[in-house]
């Protein structure tokens, strides 16, 4: 979404006060880095804890219009509403569980990747917590609202702050602020009461590290952010470090590695296609995805390590050793934790073999690269 006047988050003034270098991203004025710089913010997050403002993203709630009072039936009913649009097993979520899933179009292309959660509390069954991407949120919410007509109501929650605290120190920092959050394991969430305000705390993130994503009411956003930063383990980190961290973690970024032409199978996101759903073939694009599961896709997203020369960024051509084009880099750059350049991009399955030598063309120069396993840097989730 582009707007003439960039939107702000409840933390915009706090970023400026910290010396954040502000850019417009997805229509929001956001810090790309602080005075520490992207490289050090990245490394600090891998070693301690980085605090990120991700309020530009799209948190929302989907609530069943009329609940029966039977927890399982109500969860099943609201899950059925969203399952018409996504390929994940939402009905099978346990209370308090989050799941990564994909909104698909009829051609099996990815409309967005998102998180869907089932609240832990017995009195909240029939509700789903949803977080979609910033650039796609208005379209996603329109799609969800349309699919929910008469059955459920979508309520946006993107007027507050969504803060990600990521890194091996995140649990210590959060534990000092909110007792009991250390009980959460990766991809679970719960509601907590802090000084009379309701916060949603998720053990999740997009850096490959242990960490939390916290939905904070606007009125408490600045004080909560400041309390996170008051811990010496925490440094504020901007969008630049967020991108290099997620790239090293091998996680795809919507609008770059994923778009409406890319299927879950092509994106190597087969884990996000539920077995039950695939068997029932009951989601948009199920025919294509079933076919690709059976006979293989025509292209596959792979990790690349660039062995010489400049970083290969989005759009760079990937060729075989003799220079025949294989595909394009969809995201790439310098990996601070590896001290090397890495990338992700699409190649035919025949080239999607770990160790396969390829070339990436940067400013007309063909540079040696090789297909490597993702993640580039091991995930360290708290399971």
């Amino acid at each position: 979404m582009s707007h003439d006047v960039p939107r702000t988050t409840p933390l915009t003034a706090a970023h400026r006060a910290l010396g954040g270098r502000m850019v417009v991203f997805a229509g929001y004025e956001m810090p790309v880095q602080y005075p520490m710089g992207i490289l050090k913010e990245h490394l600090w997050t891998r070693e301690h804890a980085g605090a990120f403002d991700v309020s530009h993203m799209g948190p929302a709630f989907l609530d069943l219009t009329s609940r029966s009072g039977d927890a399982e039936a109500d969860h099943g009913a609201v899950a059925a509403v969203i399952e018409r649009l996504v390929c994940g097993d939402i009905a099978g979520l346990k209370p308090g569980q989050l799941r990564y899933t994909l909104l698909l179009n009829e051609a099996g292309g990815i409309v967005d990747d998102l998180i869907v959660g089932r609240p832990a509390r017995a009195d909240e069954q029939g509700r789903l917590y949803i977080v979609v991407n910033s650039g796609t949120k208005d379209a996603d919410f329109a799609l969800l609202t349309k699919a929910s007509t008469g059955k459920a109501t979508l309520t946006r929650a993107d007027d507050g702050a969504l803060i990600a605290l990521q890194g091996p120190g995140a649990a210590d920092v959060m534990g000092g602020l909110i007792p009991g959050v250390d009980d959460l394991t990766f991809m679970s969430f719960k509601q907590v009461n802090l000084q009379g305000q309701i916060l949603l705390v998720s053990r999740s993130g997009y850096t490959g590290e242990d960490g939390f994503e916290i939905l904070v009411p606007a009125g408490m956003a600045v004080s909560f952010w400041e309390r996170l930063l008051a811990n010496e383990l925490t440094a504020p980190a901007g969008l630049g470090a967020r991108d290099s961290l997620r790239l090293e973690a091998g996680l795809p970024l919507y609008g770059h590695d994923l778009d409406e032409t890319v299927s879950p199978v092509e994106a190597d996101l087969g884990f996000a296609v539920s077995k039950r759903r695939r068997k029932a073939s009951d989601f948009p694009g199920a025919a294509r995805i079933g076919r690709e599961c059976a006979v293989g896709p025509s292209r596959l997203l792979v990790g690349l390590r660039v062995l010489e020369g400049a970083p290969a960024r989005e759009g760079a051509t990937i060729t075989n050793e003799t220079g025949e084009p294989l595909g394009n880099v969809t995201s790439g750059g310098f990996a601070p934790s590896l001290g090397a350049s890495i990338a992700m991009g699409f190649v035919p399955p025949s080239s999607a073999v770990v160790g396969a030598p390829v070339k990436v063309v940067v400013r007309g120069r063909a540079q040696m690269a090789e297909v490597v396993t993702r993640p580039f840097v091991p995930h360290r989730y708290h399971r």
Binding site: Q33, L39, G309, A310, P336
Partner: protein, 121 residues
């Protein structure tokens, strides 16, 4: 030392000019992770792309402040690109150019003018 509005610096010694980017430019770019330099012998024209400097986030063109032939490229930047951030107006130099028109260097901004220009940004 002379400066351009694109934040390059030029230091003339005889008819050889050493060229780099200013401290302001290095700070704006952030942590430099790679510098793509031209080959020795290449003829460059003022205003054309001379080098590409890569930060974690992006690749940025560096334009030739003057015309001439490249006589040396700073090979030390291959192993230590961070020198551009640490000593932008010294060890972090990019290339040396044998200038065809020494007068073109004198026409660039002096430090006082460059600092006045920075104050307007």
């Amino acid at each position: 030392m002379r400066f351009t509005k694109d934040h390059e610096w030029v230091e003339l010694d005889g008819d050889v000019a050493t060229i780099g980017i200013t401290g302001y430019a290095a700070d704006q770019l952030g942590d430099v992770v790679f510098v793509d330099l031209p080959a020795v012998g290449k003829d460059v024209r003022a205003g054309e792309a001379l080098a590409v400097v890569e930060s974690v986030k992006a690749a940025s063109d560096v334009f030739a402040p003057i015309s001439g032939a490249v006589t040396a490229a700073n090979g030390a930047l291959a192993d230590a690109p961070e020198t551009v951030n640490d000593e932008p107006e010294g060890a972090g130099w990019f290339v040396k150019i044998k200038v065809s028109d020494r007068g073109a260097v004198g026409a660039l901004m002096n430090r006082e003018s460059y600092e006045a220009f920075l104050a307007t940004l």
